[in-house]
Amino acid sequence: MNSIRQILIPLVILCFAAAGATVAWLTSDRPGQQPDTEAVLLEQPRLIPELQLLDHHGTYWSPERLKGQWTLVFFGFTHCPDICPETMVQMNQVHRMVQENGRVMPPSVLFVSVDPARDTPERLAEYVPYFNRNFLGVTGGEAEVVELARSMGVPVSIPDVDPGEDYEVDHGSSLTLVGPDGNIQAFFTAPHQPDQISRDFEAIVRYLGQDLGQQHAQHQ
């Protein structure tokens, strides 16, 4: 009996100590631990297939161009009166909040048109810089747009109608966060709250690293 107690007591103490240490480790602010965010952070970053689109300057664009900085990607179209301009507004607010906080570099923002029949590069050149001159719009072939959207888990249903007609394009409303390695790192699902997104963006960038370098390699 005595010997059991001799073993049990230290064992219980050890358990409590381990639990305490775990709590301390989980709640400490050390970098390298999974941040608590509303975003869907991927354990395995997802690759983006090679494809070619046109940016709003009329220059060829491929996912290769996403490398080197953090980018928020979202899908929309310019014949959309409410949710698309509002998402542009929210991206601008996120961009500004991150810039004002000064903890990490603000994200690049990429607007992908899901209505390539009507959204020419010229049209995007008018639309996108109205919100922010640093944002980039891309458009191109329907198949390429759908492929890019699919790789980002964004459903797109482009209706088979005459571009001269009045139509809507239903599209996924989540935002995709692409890392400086050119891979998909996280998603933000709608409805979007700019202050939440900016906080989560900062947490993710600090966790994975501004350049997604050494720290991320260790994590993997």
Binding site: P81, D82, I83, M88, H95, P155, S173, T189
Partner: protein
């Protein structure tokens, strides 16, 4: 004498209350269409001061060829915009038409409208009431030089 004035005052007040339309609009604004876009939206709060539900059934605007009651819905991770037939405003209730939700879609402006301009809306309700509104066009880009940062702030004048 004083009682008479008071009585007259109360009478005027009660007449004014009776004359007030049951549905009013608060903080109406039209989103300046981004360049290259031929569609935009109007937003406002509908306030029903009556004791019966009143339903918005139609909207028109002299500045636009077509106007519709719309709603953006989030369904299965998708943003979908749908025309709706009507918006019911419950008795003594309020319905907000705001970005990302219910709104009045405005198609094909007859002339380009920009910040500082006004659009005229006529809202028609199922009780026959017509609400005529002059609505300011506001620029909303999310930049800090927007003329109005929040939907429900009072309009701060024009540039």
């Amino acid at each position: 004498m004083r009682t008479l004035f008071l009585a007259l005052g109360l009478l005027t007040l009660s007449l004014a209350v009776q004359a007030a339309p049951p549905v009013t609009a608060e903080s109406p604004w039209v989103r300046e269409a981004p360049p290259g876009s031929s569609v935009t939206a109007a937003y406002l709060d509908l306030v029903n001061q009556g004791d019966e539900t009143i339903t918005l059934v139609n909207v028109r605007s002299e500045e636009f060829r077509r106007a519709e009651i719309h709603e953006t819905i989030h369904e299965d991770g998708q943003a979908k915009m749908r025309a709706v037939d009507e918006i019911a405003v419950p008795a003594e209730g309020r319905v907000e038409l705001k970005p990302g939700g219910k709104h009045l879609m405005l198609h094909e402006p007859r002339e380009e409208l920009s910040v500082g301009d006004w659009a005229h809306l006529v809202l028609e309700f199922d009780n026959g009431q017509l609400l005529e509104l002059a609505v300011p066009v506001k620029r909303r880009t999310g930049r800090d030089d927007d003329d109005d940062h929040h939907d429900h702030h009072e309009h701060r004048g024009h540039h």
